[in-house]
């Protein structure tokens, strides 16, 4: 069963590129959409790899050594939702059948990379599929060959190359010490010799690499440029899931299952998380570009997850993972809203907008839901995840960090309310009087994501129990 999550998209990629014209048009879209729906249901219902579980039926043919646990399942579910959203938005944002077909191919590769990242059990394989996702990302960012997008892709490429050097050096050290790069072998080495200098060095290098991949402060230099200058469906993919699957998820996985982090390492994680929250929120207050504001908001919200990871109590980890899911949903929704506004209004500058709520009611309403969830207002999903994180910090005696998280939520509310006021409320500009609501291919994912945001908030207890 785990192999299916990487083999089925691979075979679809091969099939779509066979020399048959009918596969290049609408068929490609619907086949990919069907695949993502299948992933959505399978990830929610597939059995976990527990002792006594049925073996992977493809194991005799493909000895991949993959494993699905509750953490992988949550990520597979989130990946399916966000990639489906991106695919739907691409029909509106990306012009030309050939360009859309190229987009589908690259997103399929990215899907293989992200799915494999969350289900492999070997550190080198993890690195390889992180790179597969990154390469697909570089190309997707610059798919329309616009100047700022190519600049953003180049910045991402450059910093990603530094992360690659750190990762490979770290893997080499782990191989030297453990004789193997599997999670089990490295975890065994940590149990036997946690004070080894080389082990600490390897851990530090890998964590730095993951901070770069996640776009956490102060390694965030590439994120605002890359996420704001690319087409909307690509922004949805990058901010919505790619930084989480290839950065934050890997951080959580290694911290929980492989590394044994010292008290100092956890304190560093908390400090960096807190700095990321505050820096991202303050940077948002000065932005006039809709997408750039959302990119800085991503930096801030990911800081909550890293802060909770540093706390490392069961309640904090629960909050971190729930916030990971919530952020994937509400950030994707906000980027879809930004894309709809950009296309309909012809600008992404919030200072040139205003009063769009009447002209674009669905976009305005769903944007308000996403903003309130991001700010942590009840009963939306973001409220519960932030509450759990703050309570976990308070219960473990980290009062200062709990205060930072709480006050930063006020900052989050401030910049998102400012965004709502500038874009959707206030006086309607004369030049914008004739714009209409975005078409159904945009409204449908907006409404779907808003429903998920509300449902996850109202049914959060069910979410926590299931995943």
């Amino acid at each position: 069963m785990p192999s299916a999550f990487i083999l089925v998209p691979f075979f679809l990629l091969i099939i779509l590129n066979l020399p048959f014209k009918f596969l290049k048009g609408e068929s490609a879209f619907w086949l990919f959409a069907a695949l993502l729906l299948a992933q959505l249901f399978l990830s929610a219902l597939c059995p976990l790899d527990t002792p006594g579980a049925r073996p992977d039926p493809l194991a005799p043919f493909f000895a991949f050594g993959l494993s699905i646990d509750s953490l992988s399942r949550l990520l597979l579910f989130s990946i399916a939702i966000v990639v489906f959203t991106s695919l739907s938005v691409s029909r509106y944002s990306i012009k030309g059948q050939t360009q859309r077909f190229n987009f589908i191919n690259l997103v399929l590769i990215m899907l293989i990379g992200m799915n494999a990242t969350v289900i492999v059990t070997d550190l080198f394989s993890l690195y390889l599929f992180i790179e597969v996702t990154a390469v697909a990302s570089f190309i997707l960012i610059s798919i329309e060959k616009e100047k700022f997008a190519i600049e953003g892709a180049f910045k991402y490429l450059f910093l990603s190359a530094i992360a690659t050097v750190f990762m490979l050096s770290s893997i080499a050290l782990f191989l030297l010490l453990s004789g193997n790069t599997s999670f089990a072998a490295i975890a065994g080495t940590f149990k036997n010799s946690a004070d080894n200098f080389l082990l600490k060095l390897a851990t530090g290098l890998f964590l730095c690499a993951l901070f770069i991949k996640s776009g956490i402060f102060p390694f965030h230099g590439w994120l605002p440029d890359a996420h704001s200058s690319c087409p909307t469906p690509v922004s949805v993919l990058l901010s919505g899931i790619a930084v989480k699957a290839c950065g934050i998820y890997v951080l959580v996985r290694l911290a929980i299952s492989v590394f044994i982090l010292s008290i100092d390492a956890k304190n560093v994680l908390m400090f960096i998380g807190a700095c990321s929250i505050v820096f991202g929120a303050l940077a948002c207050l000065t932005q006039s570009n809709f997408k750039r504001l959302l990119a800085y908001s991503t930096i801030s919200q990911l800081g909550y997850i890293v802060l909770a990871l540093g706390c490392f109590t069961p309640l904090a980890l629960t909050g971190a993972l729930f916030h990971l899911f919530n952020h994937a949903v509400f950030k994707s929704l906000l980027f879809v809203n930004a894309g709809a506004v950009e296309k309909q209004a012809g600008t992404i500058d919030m200072d040139k907008m205003g009063g769009l709520a009447k002209q674009m009611p669905f976009t305005a309403t769903t944007s308000a839901i996403a903003s309130l969830s991001a700010a942590g207002l009840p009963p939306l999903s973001g409220f519960w995840s932030k509450l759990i994180i703050i309570l976990a910090l308070w219960n473990s005696g980290r009062i200062f960090y709990a205060g930072v998280a709480l006050l930063s939520s006020v900052l989050t509310l401030a910049y998102l309310l400012s965004l709502q006021r500038k874009v959707f409320f206030g006086r309607l500009e004369d030049s914008l009087k004739y714009i209409r609501e975005a078409p159904l291919v945009i409204v449908f994912p907006e409404v779907l994501l808003a429903i998920i945001t509300v449902a996850a908030g109202l049914g959060f207890a069910f979410m926590l129990r299931w995943f």
């Binding site: 990629l13 050594g65 590769i109 990379g113 394989s125 190309i139 798919i143």
Partner: protein, 142 residues
């Protein structure tokens, strides 16, 4: 610019050759052969082919760029040497024992029997590269 790029590519190829020699000396001849044929050979051919499509830069513009680069970064070699001297004087690297390597495994056995998922990943990476070339460099039909 073209001459300088080709110098960079030749430098990369020479580095790959040195790395191949190192791998051979460390007892991994297959890895050395891969490094030599793919990195020093095939990659250099691909790079030089790509560079041959770029436009030449005039000598005057080249010399202006060299001067600008020198003015911006002249202090870097001194900074690196000074940092190295300071670090070697004051930083004490703790003594650590590197464990002896476990029994040598044949590269072919590791590659074909133990690392299936990595082989799959390599194929996907190649496909990503191929799509990248098509998407970024192919001219759209009129």
């Amino acid at each position: 610019m073209t001459v300088r790029l080709i110098r960079s590519i030749v430098g990369l190829a020479l580095t790959s050759v040195a790395l191949s020699a190192l791998m051979y000396r460390l007892g991994s001849p297959l890895a050395a052969v891969f490094e030599l044929s793919v990195c020093a050979g095939l990659m250099s051919v691909i790079f030089i082919t790509t560079v041959s499509f770029t436009a030449r830069v005039s000598k005057e513009r080249l010399s202006v760029r060299r001067r600008e680069r020198f003015m911006k970064f002249w202090y870097l070699p001194f900074l690196v040497i000074a940092s190295g001297l300071l670090l070697s004087r004051y930083l004490r690297i703790p003594q650590f024992k590197i464990p002896a390597p476990s029994g040598a495994q044949d590269v072919r056995n590791v590659l074909w029997n133990l690392r299936h998922v990595d082989l799959f990943g390599q194929i996907v990476m190649l496909l990503a590269g191929a799509f990248g070339v098509v998407v970024l460099f192919k001219e759209p039909k009129e």
